[in-house]
């Protein structure tokens, strides 16, 4: 089993990165790997509660983050400074996460076998 980290640094609907990341995460989990997701910079916007996408005609994929638990993907980490800069708190997020500082995030990255950036 390898340690895979998915680094999410883009907001959800302006580009396709966030959705593509989620799809690759689900594929990786199917292969029974150790999967971590981290949300940094605008990536923290992917997890904001209350997304309503009807008006823009794009599927709201944010409920999928809540389904990750069912695939044994339970390691979700969020960068504290990225939340703070955007006026967000842990209570604004739609899933339970672990909030880390930059040093903890850097240490976690260095422990991975594979890092995929989105």
């Amino acid at each position: 089993m390898k340690k895979f980290m998915f680094v999410n640094r883009k907001a959800p609907y302006g580009t396709i990165y966030a959705l593509e990341s989620l799809e690759v995460v689900l594929i990786t989990a199917t292969f029974d790997q150790d999967v971590s997701l981290v949300f940094i910079d605008d990536g923290v916007y992917e997890l904001v509660k209350g997304q309503q996408t009807k008006g823009i005609g794009i599927k709201n994929f944010s409920p999928s983050y809540r389904a990750l638990e069912g695939y044994d993907v339970e390691k979700l980490y969020v960068d504290r400074a990225s939340l703070d800069q955007r006026g967000l708190a842990e209570s604004d997020l739609l899933v339970p996460v672990e909030v880390l500082d930059a040093q903890q995030m850097g240490e976690l990255m260095a422990q991975q076998d594979v890092i995929l950036s989105f």
């Binding site: 680094v7 640094r9 883009k10 940094i40 990255m109 260095a110 991975q112 890092i115 950036s117 989105f118």
Partner: protein, 99 residues
């Protein structure tokens, strides 16, 4: 661990965020538009100079040459070529290509 940056520091937050998270002893490789961070006299010079004291910092010479920036290379940054790029990836257990 090796961090690879390919975006201009004036266009993207990847360099700043990387520098915030990189740990002492990690390596940083600037490629493509990321090489603009390696230039003397820019607004990010002091941040990059500080990074050079904590990390090994490399810049890909073909990308510096292509952009006419090789003559502006800051002290403390090592130029490398494609073979050196491969060596860096091989020498580190983990690589992260920041997007």
């Amino acid at each position: 661990m090796l961090h690879i940056i390919n975006k201009s520091p004036f266009d993207a937050s990847s360099l700043d965020t990387c520098l915030r998270m990189a740990q002492p002893g990690h390596a940083l490789l600037l490629i493509e538009d990321g090489i603009y961070a390696a230039a003397k006299g820019s607004a990010v010079e002091s941040r990059v100079a500080e990074a050079c004291t904590k990390f090994s910092v490399f810049a890909l010479q073909p990308d510096m040459d292509a952009r006419g920036m090789t003559g502006k290379l800051m002290d403390g940054i090592t130029l490398t070529d494609y073979a050196g790029f491969v060596d860096l990836v091989e020498q580190h257990n983990t690589s992260h290509s920041w997007l």
